[in-house]
Every structure is written in C-alpha cells, then in structure tokens.
Amino acid sequence: MKTVLPAPDISRAIVRIAHEILERYDGADSITLLGIPTRGAHLATRIAAAINAIEGGQVAVGTLDTTMHRDDLRTRSPKALLPTLIPTAGVEGRHVVLVDDVLFSGRTIRAALDALGEIGRPTSVSLAVLVDRGHRELPIKADFVGKNIPTSRSEIIKVNLVEVDGTDEVTIAEGGVK
C-alpha cells in the first residue's frame, strides 16, 4: 500500500477546487454543492468551508444518496440507505456541483444525475472529485479534479478522511479484481 495523496495535498486540492468552482460560476450565490455519501458528503462540506472562507457568506451544501438509483442494485445484496439532504433553496435554477471522493466507472455519477433529475431541474450540473482514477464505463467526465491518478483496474484506491477514517490520506494498493 502506497500513499499517493498525503493530508497537506488533500487540503490544497480542496482549496484549489473551491477557487475553480468560484471562478467558473462567478461567485457562490448560485452554487449548490451536493456530496455523495459517505466521503463525498464530507468533501462537499470541506469545499463549502473553503468557499465560505474565500467569499464570506454561506454556500448551499447538501447530500445526495444514489443507492436507490444504481443500475447494479440487482448484482449485490441491498445496502442501507444514506441520507439525502437537499438545501432549502432546492436545486431548481441552481448550479449544482456534485462532489464525490473517487471517480471510477462513472456509474455512481449516472445514478446521482438520475436522482437529481427526480428532485428538479438545475441550471447546470458539474462534478468535483478528489481522485480521478480512470476506467470510465460511461461518457462522464469530472469538471474539477483534485488529482488524476492513473491506475490499473485491479488496484484499489482508498480515500481516508478524518471525519470517517480518523486520518486524511489517499492510498493505492494492489488488489484482486474489482
């Protein structure tokens, strides 16, 4: 197992993504960050904090669970649902930024887009991820990337965050077929 992104790099990536989001949308007013639980939700909270530190004010932040919209539900045992918390302003007319920890096949993001479509019609949807590891199975691409990490399919990328895992780091390990 090798650390590919130590704690200081994660913090820097989050601050940079916050700047990029603000630059793209010309300020924080129209942005809604939606993190995909579990770790994407914590990353969204951190990006929101970074945006608030830059702009002052409060950027809208929430969570979006994709479990019920996944296309691989029938290939595994049912999972417990995680919270979906949409900010009171809703998503209608907002620039929604989806936040996840790792972008891999793209299937989670497809499910998130479907879930989002049930909630309303955002003005735009973009995607921020901490790690893009490649191997897309769908035509999906991230707009804001913490770090591109080329991997082989069998390797396992693990994002650890203080809120969940007690430490901040991204590791890569040889693994079985994933």
Binding site: D65, M68, H69, L73, R74, T75, R76, S77, P78, K79, A80, L81, L82, P83, T84, I86, G90, D114, A115, E118, I119, G120
Partner: protein
C-alpha cells in the same frame, strides 16, 4: 432475508435496518422524490384472501413508489372463491413471473406453506395470516413508537407499551410482542382472561386485567380491534361492559403520561374499544401509523427485492 413470514425471521439488527431504511425513505418521499426507480421491472402480487383496506393499499402504494408492477388479487372475483387450492394459485403466480407475493390469508401459516414448499421462487411477505402474525404491522408500530418516543435511539430500550384488547385473536399483538421485546421495550398485555391466548404466561410480557392501573405507567398504548368476525363464542358479557373495563375513553386519556401516544392498527370499532374523542385526540397517532406503514413497507420491499436474488432461505 428472502421472505418476511414472522418477526422471528428478523434479528434485532435486521429489524433496526428496516426501521432506519423506512426513516430515510420517508424523508425522501416527504421531499421532492415521490417515486424511485429501484424495483422497475419487478412484479409484486397482492394476494388477499381476506378483506383489508390499509394493508393492501399500503403495500400497493409502497410497491408503486418503488416503480414495481403491482397485480392485485383478492379472494372475491378470483378462482379462490371457486375453491382453488393455495398450491394451484401459487403455481399460477409463479408461471406469471411474480417476484414477490404479499399474502393475507385467514389460515394461520398459509404464507409459510407458500414459502416452504417450493411452489414458487419469489419472495413471500406475510401481510397477516389468521390469528398468527402480521409482521409489517409490528414494524410500522415500532417505527411509529421510535419516531415519537425514541429520542434518537436505534431501538426501543426501556419504553413501556401496553397492548389492550383481543389478544387471543390478534396477529398484530403476537408480532408486536415479538418485535417490541426484541427491541428492548417492556410490553404489558391488558385483556379480560377470556381474550388471552393459551400459554400467554410463557410470553416475555406482563399481564394485567386492570386497564386503569396500567394506563399511567405506559409510554404508548395500543388498542386492538374486537374482531367480531373471529368471535364464535361469547368472550365477554356485553359490548358496554367491555368498553367500560377495557375501552379507551376521555378519562383514561387524561390519566395517561403527558407524552404517551395512542395507537390502533385499524379498522377501529369506534365506541367499543376506543371512543371517538380518544381516536381523534391530539395524542392519537392512528392516522400517522397508516402513512408510516407505506414507508415501512417500501423498506421491506426494497430490502427483500432490491438486491441480488438470494437462493434458499434466510441468509
């Protein structure tokens, strides 16, 4: 889990998983996502060989909110009323490709026959069998109690629940005793001795014949329907006497704890086991039980059908 036949099929953790899933589904459905695509393409048959309003509609609403296809099948108007056997009915459902059968049947154990005999491969959900069990009702009751009185806890540890009335014929009471005690609640059964089942002294409950002494000590009081259709003998001298000793009325509501809730699985006999002002009082969560029922049944359907098909019985 492959089937939901009895509360005994569920571990404490599985029960809590159902309640947590239901809570999350309730939050999603109250918000903007009314319909979820999760069970698209799955067929759920509601096989009701006994009358029902709430349970059937509730399972139907739950299945439809999860995008499943629903086929309703009741005894009246089907070949069941021509005397078709359960086995032949089951094989018909199997041939039609039912992924799950929600069954209500006047015979205790009918869902077990359906599930155990390899008559069909789908999941079987017991929606009330005779005087035996009604697990989804117990789960929605536990959900309602936890929501009102749980103070954020996962289980019902330490909460005191009284179940009052016709315990003898009540599948709701049986499932509730199993589930509530599994979740750590203390259950008191209150009924005239004639309406308590044989062997009740071996259940993990307290038994009382005096409603007035129990009322001030409970957090939730669950009134059961006097089931006229199963009363083939005389169990109490008169309806008026029953209501006087075992009915919930205004005086008894006033003696309840300030936070206690009033429950009833429905349908109510207003004026018999519960007076109209008790049923409609601010403490009553009877209507809310119905809406919670949809969320709980969505959770059951999702957890039974949402994932990969399971071979064999309970995992």
């Amino acid at each position: 889990m492959k089937h939901l036949l009895s509360i005994n099929d569920l571990s404490r953790d599985e029960s809590i998983l159902i309640l947590d899933t239901a809570a999350e589904l309730a939050r999603i459905s109250d918000g903007p996502m009314k319909k979820l695509p999760t069970l698209r393409g799955r067929t759920i048959v509601n096989l009701f060989a006994e009358d029902s309003t709430r349970t059937r509609i509730s399972f139907e609403a739950a299945a439809k909110r999860l995008s499943a296809d629903v086929i309703n099948f009741s005894a009246k108007g089907s070949s069941l009323s021509k005397g078709e056997s359960l086995k032949d009915t089951a094989q018909t459902l199997q041939a039609m490709g039912a992924d799950a059968v929600v069954i209500r049947h006047p015979a205790s154990g009918a869902p077990f026959r359906l599930a155990d005999n390899q008559w069909m491969s789908g999941a079987v959900i017991n929606a009330g069998d005779g005087t035996h069990e009604h697990p989804s009702q117990a789960l929605l009751d536990a959900y309602t109690i936890r929501k009102h009185l749980g103070k954020g806890a996962k289980d019902l540890a330490g909460l005191r629940v009284a179940i009052v009335g016709d315990i003898l014929h009540s599948r709701v009471a049986r499932s509730n005793v199993l589930l509530l005690t599994k979740l750590g609640a203390h259950v008191t059964l209150v009924a005239p001795p004639t309406l308590l089942p044989f062997g009740v002294d071996s259940w993990p409950v307290i038994i009382s014949y005096d409603l007035d002494s129990v009322i001030p000590q409970v957090d939730a009081i669950m009134m059961l329907r006097i089931q006229q259709e199963r009363m083939h003998e005389i169990f109490f001298p008169s309806a008026r006497e029953y209501s006087r000793y075992f009915g919930l009325n205004r005086d008894r509501i006033n003696a309840l704890n300030p936070n206690a809730i009033i429950m009833h699985p429905g349908p109510m006999n207003r004026g018999l086991e519960i007076t109209a002002d008790a049923a409609d009082s601010a403490r009553s969560v009877i209507v809310e039980q119905v809406s919670n029922g949809v969320s709980v049944r969505m959770a059951i359907l999702y957890l039974l059908l949402g994932g990969a098909p399971i071979e064999g019985g309970i995992n």
